[in-house]
Symmetry: C2
Subunit: 440 residues, 2 copies
């Protein structure tokens, strides 16, 4: 009920930006996502984007555009470095206030609209900037919280009758991942080498990965003050720790994974690269798209029991281009609403034994799969472990990713002037290193 009223109030706001916003832009004035950008040969600066205009937040702050009682308590600048970590370490009142002040500043009729001198300092066309990782990521954890994905993967490996492991309905299964190899949209991905063993082979071999896959995920950027070591975060307070979301592609070497993962989990199969979209979309921007998740059975333990068990209605798409047919072709649609465990439950579970969760951490949702074949969030599911090829318009077929393939993910909620989108999360597969590399 509280949520519905909030949505209603937001929908009533008729904010109109004075910046040009192309049709179907992810970056309406209702969005105001946060990222880091640089001009050619320039230093990275915290930024937001409206339409195709990138707004320098360091400059806005320097020129004194952030005001009010909340700001005056800070005592030092928030955006004066090459990442958003200081901002992310604050709390929801600050995050809300900054977004709201930016919306006011760029609304038609604002003081800034006719200040051409200030605008020239603050704004750069998006085609003239490069994005960087928006935060220095502290640590990366990846969950496994979409039931459709877990069921499909389990069915492939153990058959549908034993698809779900016994613990899956009791806790949001997750593992610690690697943050050093998290890269920004547009970064090329080198096909890895690794140990693999076919089920029929007597021994493993050392080879170029033959089953290179992507995973369609949402990443939650953790913010706020850390909990003390030994003091779990309560599930109904966990959302205070969610700054916002990005799209996450957790590239996976399936053949490496199946050989290495017993008994301690995925390692080299996952740690060679993950890609995130450049702009962090805030909970505030997504609030109108919050949706109730189905009741959980069995009922969660007290530390996982939410007053409001919710996710967001975010449409997620996957597109592919190949060397022969470089034009991107859409083949998968999923949605962030297909989550069984919520981000708040992931946070509560991550800290239940006492782990201190820090601002700047990134939590992956796990691959998000819908209910139909074209909603499956990775090729292992889509091709049912390499059995049913993905057939492209050009006639080309894919079981797993090939060299030169470009994989792009997109995500957005709402439409028209209410659209709140994530931009893109894209990567191109480079050929593996030559065998000679290992002989020198």
């Amino acid at each position: 009920m509280i949520i519905n009223i909030f949505v209603y109030v937001l929908m009533q706001q008729a904010i109109q930006a004075f910046l040009l916003i192309p049709k179907d832009s992810d970056f309406t004035i209702k969005n105001i996502p946060f990222g880091v950008a640089s001009k050619p040969n320039g230093n990275p600066f915290p930024a937001t984007i409206i339409g195709d205009s990138v707004i320098n937040l360091a400059k806005l702050e320097e020129l004194g555009y952030f005001n009010g009682p909340l700001f005056s308590t800070l005592g030092s600048k928030v955006f004066d470095s090459g990442n958003l970590n200081k901002f992310v370490s604050l709390s929801r009142p600050y995050w809300k206030e900054v977004r709201s002040q930016i919306q006011s500043l760029f609304q038609c009729g604002s003081q800034l609209e006719n200040n051409q001198e200030a605008l020239a300092q603050i704004i750069t066309p998006v085609q003239d900037i490069q994005n960087h990782l928006p935060i220095t990521i502290g640590e990366y954890t990846d969950f496994y919280s979409s039931k459709n994905h877990a069921f499909n993967m389990g069915s492939i490996i153990r058959g549908p009758d034993n698809a779900m492991q016994p613990n899956w309905y009791y806790l949001p299964v997750g593992y610690h991942g690697r943050r050093s190899s998290i890269v920004i949209d547009g970064t090329d991905i080198r096909r890895p080498w690794g140990q693999v063993k076919a089920p029929t082979a007597e021994k493993p071999s050392f080879t170029k990965c033959k089953r290179l896959d992507y995973e369609l995920e949402i990443g939650a950027v953790i913010g706020g003050a850390p909990n003390n070591l030994g003091e779990p975060i309560k599930v109904n307070q966990a959302e205070d720790r969610v700054f916002g979301f990005v799209i996450l592609n957790d590239w996976s070497a399936r053949d490496v994974q199946v050989w290495e993962y017993v008994p301690l989990g995925p390692f080299g199969a996952k740690n060679f690269a993950s890609t995130i979209s450049p702009w962090i979309v805030s909970i505030e921007a997504l609030e109108p798209f919050r949706i109730q998740l189905p009741e959980q059975d069995p009922e969660p333990f007290i530390y996982l029991k939410e007053k409001n068990h919710t996710s967001f209605d975010i449409r997620l798409e996957v597109l592919i281009g190949t060397e022969k047919s470089p034009e991107l072709e859409h083949f998968t649609t999923s949605n962030f609403k297909y989550m069984y465990w919520s981000v708040n439950q992931q946070i509560a579970h991550h800290s239940i034994t006492g782990c201190n969760i820090q601002p700047g951490d990134l939590f992956g949702s796990g691959t998000i799969s819908g209910t139909t074949k074209d909603g499956r969030g990775c090729l292992m599911e889509y091709t049912w472990n390499g059995k049913e090829p993905l057939v492209l318009k050009s006639g080309e077929q894919r079981l797993f990713l090939e060299d030169g393939d470009v994989l792009e993910m997109r995500g957005y909620a709402g439409e028209g002037e209410n659209r709140v989108g994530f931009g893109r999360c894209k990567g191109k597969i480079l050929p593996a290193l030559d065998e000679a590399y290992f002989q020198s």
Copy 2:
């Protein structure tokens, strides 16, 4: 052969410090480990220790005591912050040079010996300082590389005939761990809550951990310039990336672990705390204690094939004190020589799919167990999963750790004036949070 000559030369050096070195000190002038310390109400500073004298490296540098052509290439200070990350990010020639210059400075007859004014600024008695984490840890990875440990754990879980998983002899099995909860020697450890399920129980329950354990490990502190993403580190160059070693206690909630770890590995059972000893002992200091490891069968793949497959002869001890009998009682002796996979192989494997390894990362060896019962490196092994109690001199028994228990690890190589030790790695178990915590 090269190693033997090197050992011989080192043994010939009769360095005599002018600082008092107590009998059986871990910190002879042959050691020169690196840490971070602070005086009461003071800022943390990079330090080393000789005997009971803590030496302020920032002050030594500030007073111009580090000299020579290598240093002049640096252009900026190395020790002017509250951690050792800048120093660790350099390379072996710098690490060697700094250690060697410190040894010269504190040798009998040095210029510094009679400079009471400088010494007063540089030296603080160890009882007046507090240690801090020596580096801001980038990421933490834990391996599983002691064969005795893997065999014992496998025998407990699956019986001796199926003890070893098929991949174990082919690759150093490891998983990404959590760095935020790594604490320094002396930090109290709160017993965690978590989900557990007894084999006979129909459903899991949410409870205080009843099988709290330690794990006796060596942590390798990674240094040097990072490899590029997509470019694996070659095994015979991997040691360039090892700055030095600490003792590591990887606290474990065994009952939580057994329920949660399928299929993605240990999570909350491990991420609530790990403790490290305060002083990083360098490879240079340990060089005289380098030992050959047995030949591996099967022969490792090319990327794991070392020219010299070695470890170090470091004696590792575990002691326990209880609330009733607080005096520490020694009950386990193991050794870093009981490794199957070397640190160099762990590094090569960690990066084989392309992962970029960064200075400041910490790699745990995995629990190191000897061949006999009193060499087992954790209580799960020692008590054979809670079946054969550890009986203390007081008559008290332990299957797993109880509230108020103090667990201390120690490690050293050599003896007398050649002793190179790690100091201690100690933690006390605090009672779990009250159940009411989760109901508010």
